[in-house]
């Protein structure tokens, strides 16, 4: 009925009825069936343990430089992905929901880039005024 008021035209209203009914059944469907086998959660749980151990071992073995940073980031993204997709059930949501929630945090990367430039500038200024550190 929402679509009908928005379109304001008879034939479109007819169209919208079907869409609305489809949406209504989808509602009932999704709210009943957000249910998955326990085994899935146990597998994800095990993977989270493995990935955490891996990222801890990166520090334990004292890996340094770009290898360290890339390993940390890879393990971090895999863990975050598993938690959001399976534990928070995002993998079974509609695309509209996924984009609304996941896209905005990715845009924070723009802010990160800005602050990287800003931090470099601050460091240069500090070195120029106070010398290259104690």
């Amino acid at each position: 009925m929402a679509e009908a008021t928005a379109n304001g035209l008879g034939q479109h209203a007819l169209h919208a009825t079907h869409a609305e009914q489809a949406a209504a059944t989808a509602v009932a469907h999704a709210e009943v069936h957000q249910e998955h086998p326990i085994k899935l959660y146990l597998v994800v749980w095990a993977w989270l343990f493995i990935l955490s151990t891996c990222s801890y071992l990166v520090d334990y073995f004292g890996i340094h430089g770009y290898l360290r940073w890339s390993l940390i980031l890879i393990f971090m993204m895999l863990k975050a992905g598993l938690i959001v997709a399976v534990f928070m059930h995002m993998a079974w949501e509609r695309l509209a929901m996924m984009y609304a929630i996941i896209l905005p945090p990715i845009l924070v990367l723009v802010f990160v880039t800005m602050m990287v430039f800003e931090a470099d500038y601050t460091l240069l200024t500090r070195i120029a005024f106070f010398g290259p550190g104690p």
Binding site: H29, A30, Y41, V44, I83, I101, P105, P134
Partner: protein
């Protein structure tokens, strides 16, 4: 469909003036078709919380990049002496495992909730709360250890002064989230145990009838707390 009255000119018969503004803005356009309002609002809250933690981590990055003084090595700062040898970051590793385990029990609680297994749901939620409380306890231990070693928001014995303020701000805010989560887990677990969601008993605050979906919404918050810890662990402790 009964409310949609089309006049013969093809124009919509909608209320005018202030009533019209209210009616138009509240007209039932629904973006998230198969997500209930409770779940959608929790997701949007979590999104805003993501920005808060994002800003904390960003300011930490800026502070760490712009200081001339070397940053204290977290691997050594958070090491514990167990059995005569220094083990790097061991306390943080244990905290990570505890929090991941609590996420696992929470996911299973949601599952048993939808299967209407009241007993198992409540027990798993209380287990989650217990693991969360353990996490907060270990964090309190960590704070005490660092404070006795002389870490303050304005300085520390090992290097860049900003280390203390970043540490207390980020982990403190995360610990607060865990604490609030534990409190709400206990409240929801009590409701499940009493069978509030089976008989549709009105909630004490909103007086709305709860459903087992409330367990899932609670779970979303709890998994988010775990998610934030994944990022803090990577960027603050391991970097």
């Amino acid at each position: 469909m009964t409310e949609t009255t089309l006049t013969h000119t093809g124009q919509l018969d909608r209320p005018k003036g202030w009533r019209g503004i209210t009616a138009d803005w509240s007209s039932d356009q629904r973006a998230f078709k198969n997500v209930s309002w409770g779940k959608a609002m929790m997701w949007i809250f979590l999104l805003s919380d993501t920005f808060i933690f994002g800003c904390f981590l960003l300011s930490y990055m800026t502070a760490r990049m712009s200081t001339r003084v070397p940053w204290p090595n977290p691997s050594e700062v958070f090491a514990l002496r167990i059995g005569g040898s220094e083990i790097p970051l061991i306390l943080i590793a244990i905290m990570t495992f505890v929090l991941i385990s609590s996420s696992g029990t929470m996911a299973m609680a949601v599952n048993f909730g939808y299967r209407r297994d009241r007993r198992k749901t409540a027990i798993l939620m209380l287990l989650t709360a217990a693991l969360g409380a353990t996490f907060v306890g270990m964090q309190a231990f960590e704070w005490t250890k660092l404070i006795t070693e002389g870490v303050r928001p304005w300085g520390n014995p090992w290097g860049a002064a900003q280390f203390g303020s970043c540490f207390f701000m980020i982990t403190g805010f995360h610990g607060t989230h865990v604490t609030i989560g534990v409190i709400f887990l206990i409240i929801v677990a009590r409701k499940v145990w009493r069978g509030d969601f089976d008989i549709g008993r009105p909630g004490f605050f909103t007086s709305r009838r709860g459903r087992y979906e409330n367990v899932e919404i609670m779970g979303l918050y709890w998994h988010f707390v775990d998610l934030v810890w994944v990022f803090i662990f990577a960027f603050f402790y391991l970097w």
